[in-house]
């Protein structure tokens, strides 16, 4: 368990934080991920890589956190808890746009561009066909680009 955490803890934490925008909630999601791993380690079939398996569990825990969260009373503006005082202007702008995308699009952008998953791995983590991953990622990245250029997401 320690070896898994040492290897994947930071990666999962950043994944969860980028989607939740809150460090405590992200840490809870990661903790719940490792608890689920502990409880279900015997069910790992070895069909997917360990990182894909962990990301799939973590993604579900993030979804649980989002479901438990009360709906925002105001539109999301700014980069929220995703930037620190040392963050560059580019990162601030990116997160501000990222937070305006819907959760499905955020997941895809993170899984492909930060986690570096292959098409098949993204399909496995999200439980959707490869063709759907391709088309949804196409529109998600278009949306993000549009937002970064100052346009609305729709």
């Amino acid at each position: 368990m320690d070896a898994l955490y040492a290897r994947f803890g930071t990666r999962l934490s950043r994944f969860a934080l980028s989607l939740l925008g809150d460090q405590d909630a992200a840490q809870d999601a990661v903790q719940e991920t490792f608890l689920a791993v502990w409880q279900s380690a015997g069910t790992y079939q070895g069909g997917s890589s360990v990182s894909t398996w962990l990301l799939g569990i973590c993604r579900n825990k993030v979804r649980d956190q989002l479901r438990r969260r009360p709906p925002p009373t105001e539109p999301l503006n700014g980069a929220g808890g995703l930037v620190s005082p040392g963050s560059g202007e580019e990162a601030v702008e990116l997160w501000a746009c990222f937070r305006q995308m819907d959760e499905d699009d955020q997941e895809l952008i993170q899984l492909v561009f930060h986690q570096g998953l292959s098409l098949q791995e993204v399909a496995e983590v999200l439980g959707i066909p490869v063709g759907t991953v391709k088309s949804r990622t196409f529109y998600a990245r278009r949306r993000l680009r549009q937002l970064l250029r100052g346009g609305d997401s729709e």
Binding site: R14, W38, S87, E90, A91, F113, S118
Partner: protein
């Protein structure tokens, strides 16, 4: 391969996980299609931007409490007690490792 298909594959060209056959088809296409070539440049830039912003996010704020995990997982109290005892011994410098499969790694972190 038509432009739409090429453009749908570009994120996996950018993250370098496309298959050799997909890479061949995409690069054959962009060699003769300026639109898709520009699109690839934009996708690569976007990928780098997302990666660098995410890498700048803070890591875990606190270490995972493995003992709490063991207890929450419903392991017999005796096991949790053993782990707690082992951590106490390590804190006091009495032992470094107990040689138990999942107690020993825990002792390294306390």
């Amino acid at each position: 391969m038509p432009c739409q298909e090429v453009q749908e594959l570009l994120p996996w060209i950018a993250n370098q996980t496309a298959s050799p056959s997909e890479r061949r088809q995409v690069f054959a296409h962009i060699a003769v299609c300026a639109t898709c070539r520009r699109e690839l440049v934009e996708v690569v830039a976007l990928a780098r931007r997302v990666e660098s912003a995410t890498e700048a996010l803070p890591g875990p704020a606190r270490a995972v409490d493995h003992l709490a995990l063991l207890e929450e997982a419903g392991l017999p109290p005796l096991v949790a007690e053993l782990v707690r005892g082992a951590r106490s011994l390590v804190r006091q410098g009495v032992v470094v490792s107990l040689g138990l499969p999942w107690v020993a790694p825990l002792t390294v972190r306390v």
